[in-house]
């Protein structure tokens, strides 16, 4: 395409309310050729646009193993996300991407994977989870720790039930103290605390962690105590983005342009960056 800012058009085929203010969209590209040829890697993101309102950056929340559609899950926070959440099934939006790097799931073959997510940090992790579950035989033990502020704030509630029912993975779900309600059968406690209690082994294990900065910060020290090396802990960095292609100049952390060189980094790589967070 000669105009790098030109989005594909996509139809909202389905729409789910995940949690208060959080929605998931199923998107299908209008152009059959794009629908056929579109590929991405887990961890990549796109710019989704509501014409007349602008563009917003979300990860592709569906796995790279499922073709023909993509999904995004977003929280309503501002102009574009509000406009997007007011659309209906059948409406058209724009999509540019896929952009950025990805989780090196190929390199993880034969390893155990520990997933840690907090709140709206689950969408990028969910893409990796399903990518790995769809190739289940390639990986060892799969463990997930997922937490949200309250029971209502948990996203992908149905999938959580499905994952709980599977016997080829361990799911530990938790809500912040005070966020539990009648019938809650998960843990009560902050993600780092619950993680420490669960104490998953670090041997031959990679970790994928996404969520609010405080959760990441405290979880990282827990992971260190559990014996995880910074090279084996992966996360994504989120900065404000506009172009997504390394031009507009705002997503940089020091000399690193997150949109082009990220958003996926190991904890070791992040420690080497300029303190520009």
């Amino acid at each position: 395409m000669s105009n790098i800012y030109m989005p594909y058009l996509a139809t909202i085929e389905d729409m789910f309310e995940e949690a208060p203010g959080v929605k998931t969209l199923n998107l299908v590209f209008k152009d059959p050729k794009v629908r056929e040829s579109f590929e991405f890697k887990t961890g990549q993101f796109g710019l989704y646009s509501v014409f007349g309102y602008g563009e917003s950056t979300f990860c592709i929340a569906s796995p790279e193993t499922r073709k023909g559609y993509i999904q995004c899950t977003f929280r309503r926070v501002g102009r574009v996300t509000t406009a997007l959440s007011e659309l209906s099934v059948g409406d058209t939006i724009g999509f540019r991407g896929p952009y950025g790097n990805w989780f090196p799931v190929e390199e993880w073959k034969g390893k155990n994977i520990l997933f840690i997510a907090g709140g709206i940090g689950l969408p990028p992790v969910r893409s990796v989870i399903w990518t790995c579950l769809d190739r289940r035989e390639d990986y060892g033990d799969v463990t997930m720790v997922y937490g949200a502020r309250t029971v209502d704030d948990l996203v992908y509630k149905e999938e959580l039930r499905h994952w709980e029912d599977r016997d080829d993975l361990t799911l530990i779900k938790t809500v912040d103290p005070g966020g539990e309600k009648e019938g809650w059968d998960g843990e009560v406690g902050f993600v780092p605390t619950v993680l420490e209690e669960a104490g998953p082994g670090a041997e031959n294990t990679v970790c994928v962690i996404c969520g609010p900065p405080v959760m990441i910060k405290f979880s990282l020290s827990v992971l260190e105590r559990l014996g995880f090396r910074d090279d084996d802990v992966y996360t994504t960095l989120e900065n404000k983005m506009k172009c997504g292609v390394g031009k507009c100049g705002r997503c940089n952390v020091g000399d690193v342009y997150i949109c082009k060189e990220g958003p996926v980094y190991t904890a070791a790589q992040i420690k080497k960056m300029y303190n520009d967070f």
Binding site: S2, N3, I4, Y5, M6, P7, L9, S49, F51, G52, Y53, G54, E55, V77, G78, T81, D91, T92, G94, P213, E238, N239, K240, K242, C243, V245, G246, K247, C248, G249, R250, N252, V253, G254, D255, K260, K272, M273, Y274, N275, D276, F277
Partner: protein, 342 residues
């Protein structure tokens, strides 16, 4: 013919020739009592006695605002129309060597992997007629950053003024040679007239660019207290970045009515608080000194180290326009000194 002469009297013919072929002719000219690069159709509108025009040439290659697509919202859906720039040839006459040298930097960013054709197509259809400087002011510091006042970088043709007010023209690129060939009735044989002396600003004492780059590359200096100190005066107006020829940051916004509109690229600046403000309210560069530090890092680290390009060409514009006179060269001296001390 590598060298030719452009008589002052022949300028109108050149302007007419370029315009007749559908091109635009941009030259230093007076607008609102200031010398600016702008489109001219008449040689009388041009000025020849100027130092550095107020604006840089970037606004002709990377406009302050430009549509990148158009959309129409209908009951049946959305219709999106691509915008393809088909730029007319732009002849830049009287470009200062610092400005010509800046294009390489902007191009590096706009062609880094993804190619922004809004920029490249405009630059590719331009002819850069650089004129060596015969005067400079206190803000000029090209030589400090390795740019020469008679430098050829970015030029298609390098012009030097003769004492008679004509120009000795040297073709630098094939595009420049072809241009002279195309207008061979305008360019004549050199007449051996004496050239005016080139004005070469003294390199600023105490500045060592390698030391600055070295200091910035060392991540431990990012948290140094010198930044808050050095950038204390800055009010975050962004004027420095808008006038800077190598600044190329932009915003993308949708504008229009409920039924139709366009998506635009608008100039933006890392000096603004909203530039990096997340929707969550978090802002990685939440204070002005952090934004100023980013600008300095951009000029003397990201551009040279990451993009192998010039971040600063020493044009001095940011010093001239700064309302609080935060002089980048003073910071360069301070940082060079700090680098020596470690």
């Amino acid at each position: 013919m590598e060298k030719s002469l452009l008589k002052k009297e022949a300028l109108q013919k050149l302007i007419d020739g370029v315009r007749e072929k559908g091109g635009r002719f941009v030259a230093p000219s007076i607008l609102a009592r200031q010398v600016v690069y702008r489109e001219v159709d008449c040689a009388d509108q041009m000025v020849h006695d100027y130092i550095v025009p107020r604006n840089s040439i970037k606004e002709f290659l990377f406009p302050q605002t430009e549509p990148i697509l158009r959309f129409r919202l209908m009951r049946e859906g959305v219709e999106v129309e691509d915008v393809r720039v088909e730029p007319e040839r732009t002849v830049f006459f009287g470009v200062r060597p610092c400005d010509a040298a800046s294009c390489g930097a902007v191009r590096k960013v706009f062609t880094w992997d993804y190619i922004d054709q809004f920029y490249t197509r405009r630059e590719d259809s331009s002819v850069m007629m650089t004129i060596a400087c015969t005067s400079s002011d206190d803000e000029c510091f090209c030589t400090t950053v390795g740019v020469s006042p008679e430098g050829k970088e970015g030029a298609d043709l390098l012009l030097k003024e003769t004492v008679d007010g004509d120009y000795l023209v040297e073709a630098v690129t094939d595009r420049g040679r072809a241009f002279v060939e195309e207008f061979k009735d305008v360019f004549t044989e050199p007449d051996g007239a004496e050239l005016k002396a080139v004005a070469t600003p003294e390199p600023i004492e105490g500045v060592n660019i390698d030391n600055i780059i070295g200091f910035l590359k060392d991540r431990s200096h990012y948290n140094s207290e010198i930044w808050a100190e050095l950038a204390r005066k800055c009010v975050g107006c962004g004027a420095c970045t808008f006038t800077c020829p190598t600044c190329r940051c932009f915003d993308m916004v949708d504008e229009g009515t409920y039924i139709e509109g366009e998506r635009r690229k608008n100039w933006d600046s890392c000096q603004f608080d909203s530039f990096t403000l997340h929707a969550s309210g978090h802002n990685p560069r939440d204070t002005q000194f952090k934004r100023w530090r980013n600008r300095f890092m951009c000029k003397f680290n990201f551009y040279p180290v990451k993009f192998s390009a010039r971040g600063c060409v020493g044009c001095g514009r940011c010093i001239r326009v700064c309302p609080v006179r935060l002089d980048i060269t003073e910071v360069m001296i301070e940082v060079s000194e700090a680098a020596r001390d470690v």
